[in-house]
Symmetry: C3
């Protein structure tokens, strides 16, 4: 069960990582939004790997704290055609072409009127922006700036065949019970259309973590895994489960932007020193050379809700390129070429390692005063001389902090040893009857 | 009521600052000491602006902790005349010429004997030093070193017409009640003769702050404003009011050396992290480019008493050029040319800003879990895109710290926002019913 | 009773330091080990200076936590002779030549077999290493590497006349009672053969400290002084005295490697901020220019037991060249030429100063609010002017921290004054009735 760091550094899991990439690829074409059939299709695909994933539907109009679930949005077809009937912009080509939650439209418009409904990025003229309007009814298209500037005068046919009707908000929930009711929360979102790093990397890595967790023989913690629409989804979920989560969650992770192969990013919780923060920093420091740590004020996903006052869960986010910080963010350039199997794989390993450490993270107490007699146990070179081996020193160093106050993460920190090394020493000391898990 | 920082940076209050300078100028010629008519005249002048200022007289010989109020000192005339009757040194020219609390004298002395009673500063030969002898009876003159070295041999007539008789120690006290009995203390001293930065700047800025406080519509705090002789005055005041002050004072300021136009100085309280320290550092960091922070061991005014063990009030001192640190200190060069209306004015603004923040400094609690739905309240752009405006981020950032634990100063600190910005956001959030003042 | 820092810097105690060196020299030839007559002879020599030293014998086979006292070891003669009967290696020349706790042997061996029982240091070919095998029965010799490489083929006579029989572990204990049952612990070890810095310097400096403590008129603390074999000795002692020590010891010092004249070294306690740590750092900062501070993980002597979880005493170690860190460590080069009277003397002074400060280290409370009127007590220049003397500032600064919360060490730290200066000021303030020791 113990994670082998070498396996992380080497590529023995390349097959697994390739499967992750394949799942991103499979889910990529689906038109998702915060409600609608795209979410359902996505969750169905995930259920193929995780049959116990429960899909929950909450009706439009339901109140959740300060928010109300909006109508359900489903889109079938959309285009802009010129006066000759040529489709200049077509939803079939890229589902980013239509504003998320766009109202239906079917009319002739002048170029001038059309332009009021077009969104583009002048500084990235070949990219289609991702734009939404969940809470105000409007229609619109997103286009390459080069397309926009090439439009000649004349009339255009704008056509969006979409429903904005009472329906449901759909989310997925999965719970793997553990020995205790204390919980680790994994939360990811499934509400972006054809965008790869933000956000398909999130549900895909989460799904493979869930498969690994399902296979864990004896989980200490209960794991709660959420596939929700961002913002409204976490708010709706919290409105129905707040008391339970506040009582049980000891650490949580929002999985987003975990697919590219660039520098890791860390967004701490609001408190900044929770168990989630501690384990994340421990793993990042041990397993990668460098990462960017952001301030909590640079948050941007569901930790906005999980860490809000009144909720105040210990939730952090470990990302690769952070949302808002990479040029492809929220554009059509965030596509299958940005995400790599290596990028997904290392994110998976980092998160898995966090959970391995959490499972193992305990404080211990020595069973007697003074140092143990290691030679009684075949642990000590019997010939004392000028040198003691480093491994004996490490063993006695770890023993010294079996004082009931230092947990695994803290011992590793204090001694500058890897958590893996510390854990293997603690295991030996427990086997030898020299230390015991401290009562909590 | 909210302080506008622009108004501080601009000079729209120049008229007010000019009035402050005029009051310094008016009070400058009066011969003050720790007792006597100079204090009374000064307080009468202040009463013209603050009629509710109460003047208290405490008899000589009264015991105050380890101290006893000395006799009252009043001086009428003093000079040194040479054998031809020419007045070489004349109290009429500058009241620094006579040692504070000098005993009377009227006799012929040799140059040698005279020199034993003369004080000068060889390194500043054109400046008259300020010297006192409150607790040991002696007579003496303070002279320019150039005057001293020019004295020829011969006999001199020394004449000091002064009383050292049982009388009173005089101080002024003003209380503006607020909604709570919690108090802000402003303390300044009125015991120096014709010296401008140390000390007339202190009572003058204090007087204008008192006028501003009097005009405040609904004061949260009670304000206690003291015009006392330094050291013996604060000791006497504490000996009569200790229990009350220990119970009520939440922050206090000793106003001294607030008149020149050089770098600000900050002297923290003994504890160093009281509410007074926090608000002072907040304002200094926000409103000026740079300032010198001193150690508490470099204290020198009435915070010596207010912060002493057994008293232990949260009292700090925000100064311009700190006593003891500028060349003109305690010499005749600390005159009307050293103090400027701009120097007085900015000191006034800084202290006023401290009190504005103290009035507003509260912790808040959100009224519901999760982020508010800003668009419901017209606070949010309805079209979500790649960019959110900074003002929305600021609003949600401030909201995140409405957790009952962070007060205004702490929120501003944590977020790196100005206290003014934070306060305006907190006001909006309160108006919207999203947060509420936390019970204390 | 107050320590004069000048006396430390000057060499007025040279006679005393010379006596220390003489005692090292006298004890040097004795063959000590963790048990046996060498320990007894050493303790007898120390008893000549400290007749109240109690010698305790604990039988072989006694259990002490995880450990068992091994058989007693005594050696009479040992050599390696070549086929001509020439003694190539002789225990009479240097008692390091035989492995500590070597089993007896008397046989002819080939060069090949001999080499399996020889220990040398190739990188220090002229030094004999110090090697022991306390808990596994084996025989062996330690030789200069040059001797080893010069050995020709042939047979050799190896002869070790030693007993490994049930006997006793011997240690010395000395208690000087004080006004309180709170204890200062001094622990040193007496188990190394002819090795000077590690370890004879330890018991010798300890002995002279004990003589000084014996002469102290009114000890505040009880002093417990231990001369034990390293590791097994502290474990045995703790197994018989743990409850008492846990209850009473407020600070402790392991004295080892205190004899050479190189840079001081400091090994903190496991907690790192105990009274022992605080006083040690205070003295090291005040009395020497520079020292090396090690991490607790670099521990190596009896603090391994004293600071272990379940024991957790506040014990530190102030050394000169730290064990394991100097080239002569655990070799025959750690001889009488490495240790100097100046090296021993300064170690003595540093430890003595620690105890002087501990004796004096109290928190105080002022007896009245506000500053005292110093001139009433002849402590203040009566003529107030531009300058106050630094000594008056120091006195008032110290007074400011007589708040019941700052002890002598903390006051010295906060003010950047020497502990000696602080203590002399506190003495004056107590004499004047201005402050009083705070109830603990």
């Amino acid at each position: 069960m113990l994670f082998s760091r070498n396996s992380l550094l080497q590529s023995e899991n390349e097959y697994l990582y390739g499967e992750m990439y394949d799942l991103v690829e499979k889910l990529f074409p689906i038109t998702r939004s915060i409600t609608g059939n795209g979410v359902r299709t996505t969750l169905e695909d995930i259920q193929k790997r995780l049959p116990s994933l429960k899909v929950v539907e909450v009706p439009s109009g339901t109140q959740a704290f300060d928010w109300t679930i909006p109508p359900e949005w489903n889109i079938r077809e959309a285009f802009i055609a010129d006066s000759s009937g040529n489709r200049i912009v077509d939803f079939q080509d890229n589902n980013l072409h239509v504003i998320g939650y766009s109202a239906p439209v079917d009319k002739e418009v002048t170029l001038e009127e059309l332009k009021e409904h077009l969104h583009s990025i002048p500084s990235q003229p070949d990219a289609i922006p991702f734009v939404t309007s969940f809470y105000e009814r409007r229609w619109g298209f997103c286009v390459r700036h080069n397309t926009l500037t090439a439009l000649g005068p004349g009339t255009y046919h704008v056509y969006i065949d979409a429903d904005l009707e009472p329906g449901h908000l759909t989310y997925g929930e999965l719970v793997f019970p553990g020995e205790t009711s204390d919980e680790i929360l994994l939360s990811t979102y499934v509400c972006h259309p054809s965008l790869a790093n933000d956000n398909l990397s999130g549900p895909v890595v989460t799904t493979f973590l869930a498969e690994w967790l399902r296979g864990l023989g004896n989980r200490r913690y209960t794991y709660r895994i959420l596939y929700i629409p961002e913002t409204i989804g976490s708010i709706v979920y919290l409105s129905r489960n707040l008391k339970k989560l506040k009582k049980h969650v000891v650490a949580g992770f929002v999985l987003t932007c975990v697919g590219d192969d660039r520098t890791f990013s860390f967004l701490p919780s609001r408190r900044g020193d929770t168990l989630a923060d501690r384990v994340a920093r421990c793993v990042l420091n041990e397993c990668i050379d460098t990462y960017d740590e952001y301030a909590f004020s640079e948050r941007g996903s569901d930790e906005r809700q999980y860490c809000s006052p009144g909720v105040d869960l210990p939730v952090v986010s470990i990302m690769r390129s952070k949302y808002g910080e990479y040029p492809e963010y929220h554009t059509s350039d965030d596509d299958l070429s940005l995400v790599t199997s290596a990028g997904l794989g290392k994110s998976y390993e980092i998160h898995r390692r966090c959970m391995e450490i959490l499972e193992a993270n305990r404080a211990y107490r020595t069973q007697q005063p003074c140092e143990p007699k290691l030679s009684n146990r075949g642990l000590y070179p019997t010939l004392g001389g000028k040198e003691k081996t480093q491994s004996i020193r490490d063993l006695l160093d770890v023993y010294m902090y079996a004082d009931g106050a230092h947990d695994l993460i803290e011992i590793a920190n204090t001694l500058g040893l890897s958590s893996e090394k510390c854990q293997s020493i603690l295991d030996i000391l427990v086997q030898e009857g020299l230390i015991r898990v401290a009562e909590e």
